[in-house]
Symmetry: D2
Subunit: 346 residues, 4 copies
Amino acid sequence: MDGKMKAIVKDRRGPGATMKEVPIPQIGYQDVLIEVKATSICGTDLHIYTWDEWSQSRVKPPYVFGHEFAGVVVEKGELVNNVEVGDHVSAETHIVCGHCPQCMTGQAHICANTEIIGVDRDGCFAEYVALPAENMWKNDHDLSFAEASVQEPFGNAVHTVLAGDVVGKTVAVIGCGPIGIMAVGVAKAAGAAQIIAFDLNDYRLDLAEKMGATRTVNSLHEDPLDIVRSLTNGQGVDVVCEMSGHPVAMDQGFKMVTNGGRVSILSLPVKPVSIDITNDIVFKGITVQGITGRKMYQTWQQVAGLLGSGQVDLKPMITHHFPLEDFEKGFQLMIEGTCGKVVLHP
Amino acid sequence: MDGKMKAIVKDRRGPGATMKEVPIPQIGYQDVLIEVKATSICGTDLHIYTWDEWSQSRVKPPYVFGHEFAGVVVEKGELVNNVEVGDHVSAETHIVCGHCPQCMTGQAHICANTEIIGVDRDGCFAEYVALPAENMWKNDHDLSFAEASVQEPFGNAVHTVLAGDVVGKTVAVIGCGPIGIMAVGVAKAAGAAQIIAFDLNDYRLDLAEKMGATRTVNSLHEDPLDIVRSLTNGQGVDVVCEMSGHPVAMDQGFKMVTNGGRVSILSLPVKPVSIDITNDIVFKGITVQGITGRKMYQTWQQVAGLLGSGQVDLKPMITHHFPLEDFEKGFQLMIEGTCGKVVLHP
Amino acid sequence: MDGKMKAIVKDRRGPGATMKEVPIPQIGYQDVLIEVKATSICGTDLHIYTWDEWSQSRVKPPYVFGHEFAGVVVEKGELVNNVEVGDHVSAETHIVCGHCPQCMTGQAHICANTEIIGVDRDGCFAEYVALPAENMWKNDHDLSFAEASVQEPFGNAVHTVLAGDVVGKTVAVIGCGPIGIMAVGVAKAAGAAQIIAFDLNDYRLDLAEKMGATRTVNSLHEDPLDIVRSLTNGQGVDVVCEMSGHPVAMDQGFKMVTNGGRVSILSLPVKPVSIDITNDIVFKGITVQGITGRKMYQTWQQVAGLLGSGQVDLKPMITHHFPLEDFEKGFQLMIEGTCGKVVLHP
Amino acid sequence: MDGKMKAIVKDRRGPGATMKEVPIPQIGYQDVLIEVKATSICGTDLHIYTWDEWSQSRVKPPYVFGHEFAGVVVEKGELVNNVEVGDHVSAETHIVCGHCPQCMTGQAHICANTEIIGVDRDGCFAEYVALPAENMWKNDHDLSFAEASVQEPFGNAVHTVLAGDVVGKTVAVIGCGPIGIMAVGVAKAAGAAQIIAFDLNDYRLDLAEKMGATRTVNSLHEDPLDIVRSLTNGQGVDVVCEMSGHPVAMDQGFKMVTNGGRVSILSLPVKPVSIDITNDIVFKGITVQGITGRKMYQTWQQVAGLLGSGQVDLKPMITHHFPLEDFEKGFQLMIEGTCGKVVLHP
């Protein structure tokens, strides 16, 4: 398809971004062109927008950023046989090599040669995006574009919570950004008996409660370890989903987990963290898991099953909608922390 | 404790049973005496009551039968240190040897030397029952005695459904006796996307729907395989919980499961079943599991977590309550199939 | 590449096959052309050669059959980036659709849309074979072509034995055709304590012993269940690898497995088998697995690791080598059962 | 049994220990008295002997220390039914409560109420030891007392290596004290393709090679990460068994493991360790496991299977034997690091 489109371009090596007219991208034999109907803002996009240290070392302006979206296929390459024009789709945002040992053994989400949409190549804060067909996930036409656009981060939550069993267990979610809030909903849907949510921000703790937390804890005002002891008969929680990245919270996570428990870490602490391996890992016999991306595509199937059945309803945590043009309002809300998920509509 | 108590005694090698006065049982060093507050009727009790072939070969009248109950500890042996007088308890009904290879490796529920309460030794259709302390499961005082009494069969349902993952998946429950109905509730609580319940009895299908089935199928009036195909985009179900024991239904189970799926069998078909191993097991790459009893005591922890949190509410399927004396009314209802779970109160 | 090549053509709807000159196959964008250096005969090839019922219903002469091989890439399509000309390769013989639920979740080996090399399309009993590049497995140059050619069936053995843990356990291999013999070697390498091999053919039992069986049993002359009882202190075996397809042997497998054990079935019984589900599956709490193909590509990595390290040495069971022209000698040996693996060299 | 016996008594709050005459211990209803035939020295015993910080805070002299042994049952309490007088036995050294959530769910090895033989109560550096019968593991009479005595630490090695799959994989063993050396043997027996052993002590690296290491690395003279890269085609190892407790070695372990790999930590670093969670755990998607004790009693079954079958031969690493009286020679060798396992014979 030829022509121009609106896109949010990260056009400078500094804070901010600009709405511009750019060419509609061209597709290859194995690609599809998608008309973007809804695109949500991720914490990663915020890092790029505010131009933090990580962004400075990783991204190469000018380019179109954004990676969470839902849209409709409008064109496909001649070798594409897994999607059709008219299909509703979202994308797995990890474009992987396909032939490293990880890709060859069902662990493509940790392929060392991964290229990320909207980080390493043009993304979806635009009217159109061109992507490899093999990264398409077909959405049910009954699923709204807004909800479909947040499946990618919801997949992070699903991947983290369901990296082990939670039925009848006590789950702690540490850090209630959007993924933490969704993790609460996943734990609830998957049968957890107690879901204790921790954060410093009451707005987000309220959203966590709406998504099913049985207890929310503002760690500024209550002692997390005391609360856990009293709620678990002194035993500690069975599962910790660490989504804060903060060393103090992380340490609390290791202290609150019961012997034999699981600590699944999705967060990215900016510095090394000091861990009492002997007492907090070895003697307790716990398992610590690093979680990144989504299993390709088991996680997406779980996502579809949970959303399609209504076992998880994401609407309470999609708090704001803006036209694409008003992206700066969305970023501002995220800086302030007074939002759940923000969706932009091109 | 000395004295007499009321008990339902299987006193003949033929149909029926009799309410009698018998001595309160004595306890040993490692036993407890429990005052029974509620005791529910199992299909196994019905077999013993109606004196079917299996009963004739297994049980040795006269003895007190019944094995599902909740009560209060009133006396304990001098070496008992895991429960106290006054504790609310139910019992794991498998009394195991403790030192066979299965017992030594976390599989005590399939100990080849198992003795079953109410089958191989006196049971709980009585005012008191004496049991080894190590078989006690402590109940929360908030849990009603009636609900606590059905934890043992609920444990069968939990064990079957959770013998693998169900989150976001399609689960078929074939056979909606009380355990099947409870299996529906477990699948719902554990995050299944679709739960399709099959039976020939509309009363029980109604209960299955109340417990969360997304579709009920009376296999007399609808074709199970057609329904499954239409509900799963032709793929079949991910998980079959076989609780009917009927060879036709079992064959449908093998046909309706998707490639790579799981068939978990709790039922006990009375004769060998002919299976197309090549097409229904090998080429489909499925897993078939025999399920018996409850994992000791992981299943009980899951039971407690699901009931205590309200993730599963058993009240809709406990349809009838009688005083112990009216046990024959309960058995009659079970023969007619117009009940969920029937609870007797001594 | 243009030109002619020698190939064994299944050229009739009846027993036998013919060596012919046929065109060297052409490749597409995503294919490779391989010069075949060694190709081994599978039981499936024998079925096609002797024209059994299954073959009559499945294959469509005339075509080139054969699917186990090792060779060298001599040409590649323009979109191929996972192999290079000169690479030593073998092929995963299941060509899968890539976008069904199984393919999307790491279970491509049970894709319902599978096309099999040498069965549903031209195979490798030829000087050259053209295949999709994504089915290539790169071989170490140190691995002989003959050993590399049997990796595919060795993968079946690996998949079956390692479908669960065997370390320190007792493993029964029922049926010592080539895959059974290789399964013995896998169990030995993976740490099994006892490996009991069953067959009716002493030649093959001798090969099983060479591959590491701790006890071989000719079921014509000894009672399998008696032997198992005496070798396992009456407990039964932990794992049964069923590779015979014979209903009597299969029944013995179900009887000899211990409570909680595993029965992994790779064989393809020609008729339905009657199974005592209540006593042999449910009360014993066992797991039955249907095994087909090789996990793509976890099994291939295990294969490469076991062969490359010398943990398994396949040389003792590759008993015969012939030039491609003498294929009929190979088929004759297989009919007689006086061979391990037969390798043809084009 | 009345009378006196020789025992090595930790009789002071300072370095050293004394051989003394003490009363033969009395047994209770559920205990056994064992005549000790062989007892090996553990690193923990060395800590107690040299009176390090940990010992000062944990043990309460005077008492008999030692916990690794093999012996013969000479007396049993009246409720004991799992062992008989004359049985050859060793002991699981964790005496657990039996009714905490961990004990109730197959994780007794991490019971928070554990009492350890020879640490928290009298041990086996003596002619006799009294222990709960339920901690007995029956040994085959064919197994020598010396080899049987080291089953407990061998169990640590088994538990660590087999906390995940190793077949066909590359395993790094970091730290070649006796348990590390045994871990090499376990990895070899369980089918690892490469086993790379790291230490600073050439004597121990030689023992690791005898037990099956495919490559030994003295980290003083070679760069561990360079070696790993060259041996794994740049991919890193699949499994790290961390047995050094040294922060530098531990960091190397996290750096050398491949994406999706496993780091199983048995060692007890004396101080918190700084870990780059973002890059070394999360982005790599690895699993970190704390390992302590032995699974009760799955690990013991694996131990028995590996030793009884000859899959692992411990004789090369049992380098020294002394009469109990000469215990100080044994401790001296351990201080010097010029030994594998040292066995004392009462």
